[in-house]
Symmetry: C2
Subunit: 497 residues, 2 copies
């Protein structure tokens, strides 16, 4: 595939940006379309893209860019199991885990049987724990579950447990990731060793932070005087290295597999979701997968101008490469989604923080920017001031749920007001003149769904995954490796050693 700056649409966009205005505020002569002119639905999501620095001509150019960069063609290759992560010589088959993409072959027969066997093993363990059949060393049943993992082995389960807390009917469940011993100590303070189970999630079963916490957890159980011979009953492992887990003390029957073809930041679709299934039951996983699968099909098939994640990605390119934005805000007006920005931070910044292209050549264009955000209600009283009256162009995604209107109408009223004022500006009554003037021109996408349920959460996460994939395609970079993380580990090891 070609460098983006050789594509005709890239060069045309470079001219078009002078028409719309490339700074904090649009050109005086720029007029975006009518309110609501660009609305797109996908699965349970509806997005209003009307408040962007974009008119019909800009939309056309961005869609041409997607075609010239071959975004959907490359996605078809990803779906069928091609090596899309060449620096690690791996496929990226998180879509297959949620049933997307039809038959998938990876060096041989269809992967489906392996995936189904993995889901069955996960359902068996989750079911035993939920139904009180899993006996701990004390012969007690499991009343608390703690997931030990970091990065992708933590962020997905942590987000899903918070987002879907209303559906939780299983044992008390929480996630611990930090190497700081106070993080685990906080969680243990609420647990009884006799009824606590730990899930150790580590693809390599060698992650420093996770193995350190697992050792601390075992010490805590031992300190409570539990029978040593049965201590293994307090641990389940999710790993691609079952031998190392066995050597540590987790028997093979208590291990769930983590395919080499799943990247860490896509592992919520794998057995890393075990704790969510324990907390919320098997239906929750099916719904999560169904929501994501709907977006996979949509991203593969919808035409660019009606393709929700593709438009998100193209706008990411537009603001980053042509209008100079270095950051992007995500603002869910829903308390249970308060850590969505932290989840997306890994997905987007780890995937797109690359300075050499997929062929190993230094890029001559900007790649990933900063993603940040918070619950919208909180953000209005914290950092929104800078979006309204600062000097930086900062696009935002504002996420609203129809169901909220029934319990607290002012929440969505605030979200809609922010979307409108960011774009159209306004004047504060109490401060006439320049200090009270909001210039508008700050672009945003308003994303709506009926309810915050597992299906919607799955769809939202898949949308951002494909947004990131689209940006990586245009930028000609590998979104599936993360060598910068590896060096940190290597050097910390040298310092500690």
């Amino acid at each position: 595939m070609p460098r983006p700056d050789t594509l005709p649409a890239w060069q045309q966009l470079d001219a078009y940006r002078h028409v719309v205005g490339a700074g904090r505020t649009p050109s005086p002569q720029f007029a975006s379309g009518e309110p609501g002119w660009l609305q797109v639905a996908a699965g349970p999501l509806r997005a209003d893209f009307s408040r962007h620095r974009l008119d019909a001509r800009g939309l056309e150019l961005l869609c041409e860019l997607a075609e010239q960069a071959g975004v959907q063609t490359r996605f078809a290759r990803m779906l069928r199991g091609d090596v899309v992560n060449p620096t690690e010589n791996r496929a990226a088959l998180h879509t297959a885990l949620r049933g997307g993409g039809g038959p998938v072959t990876l060096d041989g027969p269809d992967l489906r049987a392996e995936i189904d066997a993995g889901l069955a093993a996960q359902a068996r363990i989750a079911g035993e724990i939920r139904h009180g059949e899993w006996k701990l060393s004390t012969r007690q049943t499991v009343r608390s579950v703690i997931n030990l993992g970091i990065g992708g082995s933590d962020l997905g389960p942590a987000l899903a447990l918070e987002a879907l807390a209303a559906q939780a009917d299983g044992p008390t469940s929480r996630c611990v990731s930090d190497l700081d011993p106070r993080a685990l100590a906080d969680a243990l303070a609420a647990c009884d060793p006799a009824s606590t189970l730990f899930i150790v999630c580590s693809k390599t079963f060698g992650t420093l932070e996770t193995l350190t916490n697992a050792a601390r957890a075992r010490d805590w159980l031992r300190g409570a005087g539990l029978p040593e011979a049965q201590l293994h009953r307090h641990f389940v492992a999710v790993t691609a290295a079952p031998d190392r887990a066995a050597a540590w003390g987790v028997p093979a029957t208590q291990c769930l597999a983590f395919g080499e073809w799943i990247g860490g930041r896509y592992s919520i679709w794998s057995a890393v979701s075990l704790i969510v299934q324990i907390a919320c039951g098997p239906q929750v996983l099916l719904s999560l997968h169904r929501g994501a699968h709907a977006i996979d099909d949509h991203f593969a098939e919808a035409t660019p101008a009606a393709n929700l994640p593709l438009l998100m990605g193209l706008l990411g390119v537009w603001y980053r490469n042509f209008l100079g934005a270095q950051a992007h805000a995500v603002l869910p007006y829903a308390w249970p989604l308060r850590t969505l920005p932290a989840y997306l931070q890994q997905l987007e910044m780890e995937s797109l923080g690359k300075r050499v292209d997929i062929d190993g050549k230094e890029v001559a264009w900007e790649t990933g920017g900063v993603l940040f955000g918070a619950s919208g209600s909180h953000a209005q009283h914290a950092f929104m001031q800078l979006l309204h009256q600062g000097t930086a162009l900062l696009p935002a995604d504002i996420i609203l749920f129809d169901e909220t209107a029934a319990v607290e109408p002012a929440l969505n009223a605030n979200g809609s007001a922010q979307a409108r004022v960011l774009h159209a500006g306004g004047q504060v009554d109490a401060a006439p003149g320049a200090h009270g003037a909001l210039p508008g021109g700050q672009p945003n996408t308003l994303i709506r769904a009926a309810a915050l349920d597992a299906e919607t959460l799955g769809a939202l996460l898949a949308c951002y995954e494909h947004k990131v994939f689209a940006q990586a395609c245009v930028w000609h970079i590998n979104p599936f490796d993360q060598w910068g993380v590896e060096l940190g580990k290597q050097v910390a090891g040298e310092l500690a050693g």
Copy 2:
């Protein structure tokens, strides 16, 4: 005071940046000083500024910029109570609350008596609650406290409760801010109405989110059948509008004052800290204030090249205006400081997100950027990849505590390794060639303290406050107003009405 772009040092910095290199990586000919060449101590903090895009000449120019912009002169005016917030016609006297700045007159006699009376009233209420003398409607003592506030009335107490959790020996304490009813419901699930007290923090006693949560709290108490006539015993108010609090139902004897001369994002130094004092006792507040006061004196008196917060602010200007950075990361290697970035996000982005200068003229230079971050341990497995191998210049503050080395040496080893690799780069053994190469050149400040205690927390927060003040002075903007927040409220009111 003058526009920054008319200052000689500003113009010299504009030339100097071409010497050091204004992009993601330094010029090949640029060599920063020896490791450790620029170290500064202030109160309990030590900062290593040696890993910046700066040599002795650059340092000299930045210090000249501070003098030409009159940063310390303006700070002296702030300390004595001048109107430094002209759009709201107010002083900004958070320094006086922590004993800084000597005698302070505000339209009359020294404010000290008013401040001391406020502290005494706060200590009395906190003491009664801690010692079981405060009787609720049920004649029970207080076992749970919930702070209801948003923005500055939430972020400070929430941070301090987490940061100082190890010292908490009072009633269980937590903060709720979000308008989403699920936030309060989460907190109430762990409380018994008969033994729960609410602190309603709202400067105007009219903040939608806070008053909505206060009404929900009262409904919850009523729903539990508590005696209506004594319901007010479950509420304390912290407000500048005691009449409105009284009309709502909080008697004057249960109100603490919130001075008009305290900005919301500086209110951790005011009676908004009540919940921290209830949880941790009176000594904690004295220590918090002592730490901040030491930094106030340091910022006022230290020469620019040895002035910790001033250097932080000048580097903020340097990267934002001359080297093109739009964001800044804060990475504490301490789980109890995991929400420090959220606190600083308000402090920095609300203060510096301005597009007109203090005279009401549109600025011709960039002002505030995005601040983001997380626990360093977590960040390494989430977004650090983009700092290491992305295309954007992204300065970072890395915060380490000596005491951590005793309990988990790998935590500080990781923090030090990240600081070194961000600056010096390196090569991943497992990925020879361009994909595994980290270019370095990413600037960072390493901030160290002996222990994470109240004094250190106070010093840290004061450092960032004065960093922000220094940037605002150079940029010739008002860091104490926030009109962009007001318009959101106004428009949401219209939509809801």
